[in-house]
Amino acid sequence: MTHQPTIRFGRLCAALAVLLVLPFVAPNYVIHVANFVLIMTLPVIGLGFITGFTGRVSLSQGAIFGVGAYVTALLTTKLGWSPLATFAPAVLGAITVGTALGGPAMRLAGLYFVMATIGIQQIVWIVLLNAVEFTGGPQGVRSIPAVGVGGFEIDSTFSFYFLALAMATASYMLAKRIIASRMGLRLRAISDDELASSAVAIDVTRNKVLALVLCSGWAGAGGFLYAHYVRYIHPDMFTLEPSILLLTMSMFGGYRSLEGMLVATAILESATEYLRPFGEFRMIAYGMLLLLGMMFFPKGVLSLFPRRSPKPAQLVKERTSDA
């Protein structure tokens, strides 16, 4: 899975053109599903900073996403802030919680980091559920206002689509920029070999925490969008289950391939939405999807379509890791 650091503007414009035409030809339900896909691309891209670029797997992204959603929901409903003004607090809140809880765990390797993020996920969820006077507890937060831009309310599925598309595109391009920057280079170096990168004067801890900041920030932005789209949030929307889904999306995409992650998000998120009428059978199908996906495509769905020529360095790496 080699990574393409530069944006291919031709392909991006083609994809955007298709996506811009979509809402004018597709039925409302398809746009509704597309909105969820676009919202989910944000936390998935965020997760990409952690999984793809520091080699860690986080199972707390759903909770951090929830923090972003709760910050904007509480500021707009309880303090009457205008929704747009809560974007920055939502992102900052997510970063604060994500980094305060996850930062100390970043030095843990592999499996132990996953264990720690499960703890974080459960802690955030239990607090959201039980801090009744602050978050509304199991009642959730109702009637969250829609985002308004200059007197125009983005309150329909159709109009929200363009907001979500704009934010998803912006976050994709920004993430690409970051990955191509010197910082992205350092992160990729760390993910390849922490010891070697610390030997060439990369501050490993600092960069790993920075990756976590980016990861939480993107989750917070996604939570902001989510809260203003569904307009009603509840702690049980941010349990371990969405964290698993988000992680699966980033894993099915194949490491280090933002495009792969976006494709996987589109497939998995629309699959879960379309399966919704089937009740518990939907969850059985979803569990089977995770299980069979991991059993048969452990390297991501895009590994079905091998790249034309792997770089020599990667071949060597694969041979040595096979031995």
Binding site: L59, A109, L290
Partner: protein
């Protein structure tokens, strides 16, 4: 409870805590056994525990069995299911721990929702351990609590003797410390691993039958117990069997004490705060031996 003074109440909390803690310890043993052998974490463990409860429920409703045979039958069945699942499912997930975790979680979701199709509502479990109230030093509790604690002690003793005194148990320990070398001295490694999976399933299902009569049983009971048992394993040291038992009982006690004296709403938080704090400050756990986890 008018007769319980503060000492009686404390005793009651302690016994309840040890009983819940025993369950965490037994389920947590599944994490520990698997971690020692494979360096993997099976997050379906909690759902196996839940499925074990329902297996016990189905058998107990069909045949009026006393407690001990019921427990044994469920554990043997769970062992066989574990061996079969290892062969057809888990063996394909050994690539790395991320793949294994997501795959196992997928399996857990399948288990949970399959049970949900048949038992959408919480159902009562037959009172196989009797319904008498035991009074002891001012504390009053159900007889079943003593069964839970007693069975845990027996189970742990049996597991210990199995691993220490039998040939097959020693072979499993050899696989856990170094599978390659164990293979060269003639241990059938794939079979030992399959049996370890079987054992993790058996202990989880056994714990399920033990807890069943104390509460209503429902399809989602495995989620929380599984994650708390996991926290217990990390607290005591995920590669240490005595550590896991200590960790389980410690979490059960702390959680019950915090639920009574601090806040019942945040009772569930205890296990996860301990989990996070242990991983950050002492990832080897209380009794674990060193594993190079920090970079």
């Amino acid at each position: 409870m008018e007769t319980t003074g503060s000492v009686g109440m404390l005793l009651q909390i302690l016994i309840g805590g040890i009983a819940t803690g025993s369950i965490y310890a037994v389920v947590g043993l599944g994490f520990t056994l698997l971690y020692r052998a494979m360096k993997m974490v099976n997050f379906a463990q909690g759902h196996v525990f839940m499925a074990g409860t329902f297996l016990g429920l189905i058998i107990a409703n069909r045949f009026a069995l006393p407690a001990i045979p019921l427990l044994l039958i469920v554990m043997v069945l769970a062992f066989l299911i574990g061996v079969v699942l290892e062969r057809i499912v888990f063996r394909r997930l050994y690539h790395d721990h991320d793949v294994f975790i997501v795959g196992a979680i997928g399996l857990g979701i399948v288990l949970m929702n399959t049970v949900r199709v048949f038992f959408p509502e919480p159902v009562p479990f037959p009172k196989v351990f009797g319904e008498r109230l035991v009074e002891f030093g001012g504390a009053r509790f159900q007889e079943a609590y003593l069964w839970v604690i007693g069975c845990t002690v027996v189970l742990v003793a049996l597991l210990h003797s199995f691993f220490t005194y039998t040939r097959h148990g020693r072979a499993m320990r050899a696989v856990a410390s170094d599978a390659e070398i164990a293979g060269t001295v003639g241990v059938n490694v794939p079979r030992a691993i399959a049996h370890i999976f079987g054992l993790t399933f058996a202990v989880a299902a056994g714990a399920g039958v033990l807890i069943g009569p104390l509460y209503f049983v429902s399809f989602d009971m495995g989620d929380m117990v599984g994650l708390k048992a996991f926290a217990a394993a990390v607290l005591g040291g995920i590669n240490s069997v005595p550590g896991t038992i200590l960790g389980g009982i410690a979490i059960g006690l702390l959680e019950n004490l915090a639920g009574t004296y601090i806040s019942s709403a945040y009772k569930d938080l205890v296990a996860f705060v301990i989990l996070l704090a242990m991983l950050v400050f002492r990832p080897n756990g209380l009794l674990g031996t060193s594993t190079p986890v920090k970079v």
